[in-house]
């Protein structure tokens, strides 16, 4: 009888090849099954930049509107807003703005009562062409505007005191014209101080009022720092996935007619 001992070998070889086939197909399938999960949502979010652009554009519009009409021309502002809505709608954002009351700011860095009361208004000043400070209300602390040189020594200073008058230190020597109007406004022009200095405010968080300072900086660039009244504006931005609502105080230009008593 012939011994057919190749039959078993064929079966074993077939089993092994099936096993290897299963293994290889498992490894292949694994990568297919699990890579379908990895598509995650990515991409940077532009909400911050959109919001900042919106605030900047609206600030400019409000400031322009105020310069022409201190009651804020509502037609101009609503035209502006509807144009802005169209622009942003094309990018998938719904925006709306709402204005609140106009108010008198504090002499803090942000104009709000919680802002820094001691702050630098202008840095590296070479000349002061024109400076106006107008005090609206005073709550009893020593409010000071002064010029500090590079060693933090005071060149000139103006302080407003309890009895409602200005105390000037070296101001008449530093400016060609000094005018006090009433008890609450001081106007100076043509500063003749040669050294480079910073103009700072001290204890501004309990005094409200307006200011304007203009002149030239150390690098011959002109500056106009001013703050008249302020207005709170609420911005709402909605997109498909985000929505924010923020309220920002916008500073309006200084208005000389503020101090017509």
């Amino acid at each position: 009888m012939q011994i057919f001992d190749e039959d078993g070998q064929l079966l074993l070889a077939a089993a092994f090849s099936i096993a290897i086939l299963v293994l290889v197909s498992t490894v292949l399938l694994n990568s297919i099954i699990f890579t379908s999960n990895i598509a995650a949502e990515s991409g940077s979010d532009t909400m911050i930049y959109k919001n900042n652009n919106l605030i900047q554009a609206t600030t400019n519009a409000y400031q322009n509107a105020y310069e022409h009409d201190i009651g804020l021309n509502q037609t101009y502002l609503s035209d502006f807003e509807s144009n802005l809505k169209r622009m942003y709608a094309q990018e998938g954002y719904l925006i709306s703005t709402r204005q609140h009351d106009i108010f008198t700011p504090y002499f803090t860095e942000t104009g709000m009562p919680g802002g820094a009361g001691d702050w630098i208004v202008v840095k590296n000043v070479k000349t002061v062409k024109n400076m106006v400070f107008e005090i609206e209300s005073f709550d009893g602390t020593d409010f000071e505007v002064k010029a500090l040189d590079s060693n933090n020594n005071s060149i000139w200073s103006i302080s407003y005191s309890y009895d409602g008058s200005f105390e000037l230190d070296n101001v008449d020597e530093s400016f060609d014209n000094v005018d006090e109007i009433g008890n609450s406004t001081i106007r100076l022009s043509n500063g003749n101080d040669p050294s480079v200095h910073n103009i700072v405010i001290r204890n501004g968080s309990q005094v409200t009022g307006y200011y304007l300072i203009e002149g030239t900086l150390d690098n011959s660039v002109e500056y106009h720092e001013q703050r008249g009244k302020m207005i709170n504006v609420t911005f709402n931005i909605n997109s498909a996935r985000h929505s924010t609502s923020t309220t920002i105080p916008i500073s309006l230009p200084f208005n000389y007619s503020n101090n017509e008593a």
Binding site: A19, T246, T247
Partner: protein, 158 residues
């Protein structure tokens, strides 16, 4: 039929069949076992990678919200409300999972809901006065949002 004991051929058909069948069965069982182990290992590794992606996504969004709040507050303004949608898939690598924000250790923790759970932790950073509210969410079909609450100054994941 051939005699089992006194046969001199040394090849018995039935024993041959039994042997080959047994060996084949054993080999198949071993292959299946290693198949499932391989799948689970891959699952863990893929889960880990996926959790890393989503956790970094959430951490980035928290940082964006924080930066936004900080920039608004430094201008003297206030953020009244803010909502960001966080897109999380229902299952990752076939398993349900939870997302936890831990205030005390300042971490985002992803945990899979399987007997052998994988976990991934990543820190987040906040620079402004806001804080993150600790909480766990079980990812479900509804949308998930990172919400800023102005009164408590906290960011909540819901």
């Amino acid at each position: 039929m051939k005699k089992l004991v006194n046969d001199e051929n040394a090849v018995s058909v039935s024993v041959g069949y039994i042997l080959t069948f047994a060996i084949t069965a054993l080999v198949i069982v071993l292959i299946m076992g290693s198949f499932f182990m391989l799948v689970e290992q891959t699952e863990n590794r893929v889960s880990y990678d996926e959790y890393k992606v989503y956790a970094n996504l959430i951490s980035n969004q928290i940082s964006e919200m924080d930066r936004f709040i900080y920039s608004i507050e430094s201008q003297g303004g206030a953020v009244n409300s803010m909502e960001y949608e966080v897109k999380l898939p229902l299952t990752i690598a076939g398993n349900y999972y939870t997302v936890e924000l831990c205030n005390s250790s300042e971490e985002i923790i992803f945990t899979s809901q399987t007997p052998t759970s994988t976990q991934f932790r990543t820190p987040y950073s906040i620079n402004s006065n806001t804080e993150i509210a600790s909480g766990i969410i079980y990812v479900s079909h509804k949308n998930h949002y990172l919400i800023y609450d102005n009164e408590t100054k906290m960011i909540i994941l819901e």
